[in-house]
């Protein structure tokens, strides 16, 4: 049987109560895995390379301090230990908590919450290149302060060499992982209470 990454990360096997529960939403289960496969086993790597996918994935999940980061760390370690080392040394300076950021000016401005606008260091840019470094900055924004998103943030990606299609895939990648790691967190808590 094909691997289901969420089941593996939560520690669910056939016969468990949680396995039966997930089977009651079979399309959600199958397509959460199909989403993972579309991002990490794509036959279309022209706009986003496999290494870029793995590096952004590890960065996105590690930023949230999710235990699921282990899985992506292993994948990146196998593909590029140098990239993993560069990301791991940048991680302590990038981890924070969210969501924070600003609302469009108006009645919600009272709810604006300040927080860091993380940018890659010169050292990190030198290690991973400006293209991946720009993606890491965008990943930080999407992870912690999605409401600060802007046309300017996308222009920074275009200027760093990302195509329109590449930005769509990058955005899906980070957004999907923010779903997956929350399903893992939620089901892990539920499993402990079954």
């Amino acid at each position: 049987m094909a691997i289901d990454v969420i089941d593996r990360l939560v520690g669910v096997t056939e016969g468990d109560a949680l396995y039966a529960l997930r089977e009651q939403r079979p399309d959600a289960k199958r397509n959460a895995q199909a989403s993972y496969d579309a991002l990490f086993a794509s036959d279309e790597l022209e706009h986003v390379s496999q290494l870029e996918r793995l590096a952004v994935a590890y960065w996105a999940v590690a930023l949230t301090q999710s235990p699921a980061a282990r899985h992506y760390r292993e994948l990146l370690a196998a593909a590029s230990p140098e990239t993993l080392a560069a990301l791991e040394s940048a991680l302590p300076g990038a981890v924070t908590s969210g969501p924070y950021g600003d609302f469009p000016a108006g009645p919600l401005s009272a709810e604006n919450a300040p927080g860091p606008h993380w940018e890659p260091s010169a050292e990190l840019r030198a290690a991973v290149g400006i293209r991946l470094a720009a993606a890491l900055a965008h990943t930080h924004l999407l992870t912690f302060r999605p409401r600060d998103s802007s046309a300017d943030a996308l222009q920074a990606l275009l200027d760093a060499g990302w195509s329109t299609t590449g930005i769509v895939t990058l955005s899906q990648l980070v957004s999907f992982l923010n779903f997956q790691l929350r399903v893992v967190a939620g089901l892990t808590a539920l499993k402990g209470e079954l």
């Binding site: 109560a17 959460a32 969501p99 930005i167 929350r182």
Partner: protein, 201 residues
């Protein structure tokens, strides 16, 4: 010179609302005449070709198709589990927390439609997720959705117990988890690839 984003000169909405908003992309959607069968499979519903959000996302058709099929089962599979109104409440709570005015407008409307309690929904939009809700199931679903939306994720055993004590079964609790988690996917796409347009008329 690199490619340029699309900039709009309308004033995007600056408050949460149940009104009907539009949405415009900052990047060029795929022109309709370039859509292939693989793209239509990614759109799932062919009518979505008319929508700029889906026609931008369809540039990567495989992940869009899997995303949409995940979404549909979480929100529309009504074989037991969480009532539709509460699934929409989970979506609205996540969107209110992340700050996605567009997503919150759509799903607060759905929550009002299914619950017939538009004032309770509007209070969540106006005053926030901490605003009073007297219904223990609403309180539990909102609290669980907010905890799941925080980074690092703050959802734990106490949220499972609160949902259960409010009378929700395990499938309903799993639905609440998936509904809030899914909007942490959807909010990030909607917020980062374009912006909402003002209500019509």
């Amino acid at each position: 010179m690199s490619q340029q984003v699309i900039r709009h000169d309308f004033d995007a909405p600056n408050a949460f609302t149940q009104e009907l908003l539009g949405w415009e992309a900052w990047l060029e959607p795929l022109p309709e005449e370039e859509l292939t069968e693989r793209h239509y499979d990614g759109l799932v519903d062919r009518r979505r070709a008319a929508n700029p959000y889906f026609r931008l996302l369809v540039r990567d058709p495989d992940i869009l198709g899997a995303r949409t099929r995940t979404d549909n089962d979480i929100f529309y599979n009504e074989k037991g589990g969480l009532p539709r109104a509460l699934r929409e409440l989970a979506a609205t709570s996540a969107s209110r927390t992340n700050g996605c005015i567009y997503c919150a407008s759509v799903h607060s409307r759905f929550a009002s439609h299914h619950s017939k309690r538009p004032d309770d929904v509007q209070r969540l939009l106006d005053e926030g997720t901490a605003a009073e809700q007297s219904d223990p199931q609403w309180r539990a679903v909102i609290d669980a959705s907010v905890a799941l939306t925080e980074t690092p994720v703050a959802f734990g055993a106490e949220h499972v117990r609160q949902l259960r004590e409010a009378g929700l079964d395990d499938l309903a609790i799993a639905d609440a988890i998936h509904g809030a988690a899914f909007f942490n996917w959807a909010n990030r796409l909607m917020l980062s690839l374009g912006e909402p347009t003002p209500p019509q008329g």
